[in-house]
């Protein structure tokens, strides 16, 4: 028979052990699954104060505006490539698959993929939000220095896309 105290001790140790294990495993898994976000100019010039540039082979996310006229499709497959830009340098994204419904030239998108060379990314996923006026918040922030703009106000400003007759 175990005493109540022994049982308590065992329980507490078990909890601590499980928690440590869980947190360690979690941190390990987190480390492998964090994808830093870059804009095209951050990718070329480096990120943050230390100007850290990503290494080829690194997984990352990139967000920018699709350069009009840059979308090139392979005639026989679903391979596609396009250029992204924010404030300066241009970065090329290659992708094979179906682009999202709202992928348009001149519109903001986010791509997830691996860096092939300094200005080329092989994307595994391309994201565009289901909203014509949408710009990824990170892109908006980098481009215009705006943060947390309520979409309701954005919509008020660009209401020309809406039926014009009765509005205001």
């Amino acid at each position: 028979m175990q005493s109540r105290r022994q049982k308590r001790l065992f329980a507490v140790l078990l909890v601590i052990g499980l928690l440590t294990g869980a947190v360690a495993a979690m941190l390990y898994a987190l480390q492998q699954n964090i994808d830093l976000f870059y804009t095209p100019s951050q990718l070329v010039e480096g990120l943050g104060k230390d100007k850290i540039k990503p290494q080829p082979g690194q997984r990352l996310r990139i967000g920018g505006m699709v350069v009009p006229g840059s979308v090139q499709r392979d005639p026989d497959s679903l391979k596609v490539s396009f250029d992204l830009v924010d404030t300066g340098p241009v970065v090329t994204v290659t992708f094979e698959g179906i682009l999202p419904d709202l992928f348009r030239e001149g519109q903001g998108i986010v791509a997830q993929g691996t860096l092939v060379d300094q200005t080329t990314i092989a994307a595994t996923e391309v994201l565009a939000k289901h909203d014509e006026e949408y710009m990824p918040p990170e892109v908006a922030e980098a481009l215009k220095g705006i943060r947390h703009v309520p979409p309701s106000q954005l919509q008020q400003k660009n209401s020309d896309a809406k039926p014009a007759e009765g509005r205001y």
């Binding site: 964090i34 679903l78 419904d101 997830q112 990170e138």
Partner: protein
Amino acid sequence: MIVEAGQLALTFAFALSVLLAIVPLYGSFVANQRLLLLAKPLALGQFVFCLLAMLALIYAFRSSDFTVINVAQNSSSTLPWYYQITASFGSHEGSMLLWVLMLAGWTALVAQYSKALPLLLQGRILAILGIILAGFIAFSLFMSNPFERSLPFYPVEGRDLNPLLQDFGMILHPPTLYMGYVGFAVAFAFAIAALMSGRFDSIWARWVRPWALAAWLFLTLGIMLGSWWAYNELGWGGWWFWDPVENASFMPWLAGTALIHSLAVTEKRGTFKSWTVLLALAAFALSLVGAFLVRSGVLVSVHSFATDPGRGMYLLVFLLLVVGGSLLLYGRRMHSVRSQARYQLFSREMLLWGNNIFLLTACLIVFLGTLFPLFHKELGLGSISIGEPFFNQMFYYLTIPFALMLGLAPWVRWKQQQLAPLIKPFSLLALAALTLALGVMASMQTVQANLALMGLLLGAWVGISALAEVTLRIRQFGSVGKGITKLNASHYGMTLAHIGFAVLVVGVAMTKTYTVERDVRMQAGDTAHVAGYDFTLVEVYELNGANFGGQAAELDVRKDGRYLTHLHAEKRFYRIQRTIMTESAVHARLSRDLYVSLGEELPGNAWAMRIQVKPFVRWIWLGGLLMSFGALLALADKRYRRKTSGQPTEPANA
């Protein structure tokens, strides 16, 4: 006029909820019976006014009253009538009103079905619900008024409902999910009321259990419907994306699951008391965290509403007050509560405790994974995203010990269990699970190891163990016929819910492993071969719907040359919102789904098509349904109605 009446009704509801928050609580401290008796009429009254407010809003949507900003931005005159009704909770403002109505509904139900409770407790529970209600109604009234007008300048046509929300799933998903979310407020109120009076015993647990079960039922159903909706509407063929808002609903579910298990221990054995109370607080607090994440705009996801920082701030302060206040009370009162019952290391108590630990670890993982990018960004370390692999990996490791314990726990006795008598049945069970899993494995055309095998093993283990256990219990009554009727409804409920979990695990593992996904370029007449099926594109033609245009693709599916089915996939362009939507075509069978979505138009009269064959994907939702039915069965248990005139069976959808 009706709209103003709605506004007025909501104001009355606010006044009544403030009274409900104050009067019975004051009455409970001065021991004034008359004040305590006021709780019930107040609770019922505020529900009636909330209902009137919601009806007024629905009326505004049905009559396309575009002077109301909410209607103008989320509806249009060309919208089908059923979507006009659901549009009333498609926006932030409207969904907040629905949230309030649900909470009011739960409060009214508690008022109606708590006659058996001591008056003092009854008054306090309702008063705490009144405080929460007052907080939310005030939010709805002052921060996000659904009845606001834009007079004198108003649009002649509305901006239409977000096409994503124009789906059958949207009619069901938000109400059920909200019922679940706010349902935990009842368990929360019971916990706080008990903390005030310091009375925790198995009777208290028996009172809370049906309410917690009902909330859990709705939350399970709501999450499952949401997953099914995303599968049909988003066009990617995924069923869970670890999106921040999905996570926001998953966290209270995990805490709620822990709560209903912990409540079982508290009711049967009178122990785990402080733990149960903490879980009741946590489940509701996490619901509030979810509301904050979705409505404050701090996280970006497909679900988040158009929001402004003021609203986020209000919710954050409300959240901190509720959590802080309840934790303070918990800290002051809980030390006096002692659990009397003793139990050994190998006992059902310990296994259920393990269940709680794993569920809460899962909850912690989801919490960190969801909020880590936010902290990372606010600390100035740059924007990051945490991908699906993180969550998948963590849940893979968590599920294995969790499912192993789940198969074991119902067999183990309370208090203490000798190992020896269990060895024989468990070797047999393990053998049966192994045979079944390997059998299913062998029947698949390709053998892929690890995840699928692990899923099948665990699923078979949990499923067989649950079935064998319930058979054993039935036999214990002597004859099978007698046993079937004698066994508690809640025991059947537990078995069914556990089988549901097994089905879910099998579904997840098989879908993850065996899904074949191919993006192809197709012209009319082309055939794509995917996982043994031949998909032939017959034609693509123009669509013309009520409020949308676009294209539709017709496909024939053959297997081994034999005609199997016809698929119809659409790509819709909603004219008013100028949004493109993919309506995927699904041919569903229990063993597999055929899933086709129409992509973009390519040069040369060709189309991009996404074709997927997804084995066992239905099992995921079937598992969720079984779990919900399990909860429903458990709710029907006679003992929740014993001595009490009317404990809730199934709360009506308010």
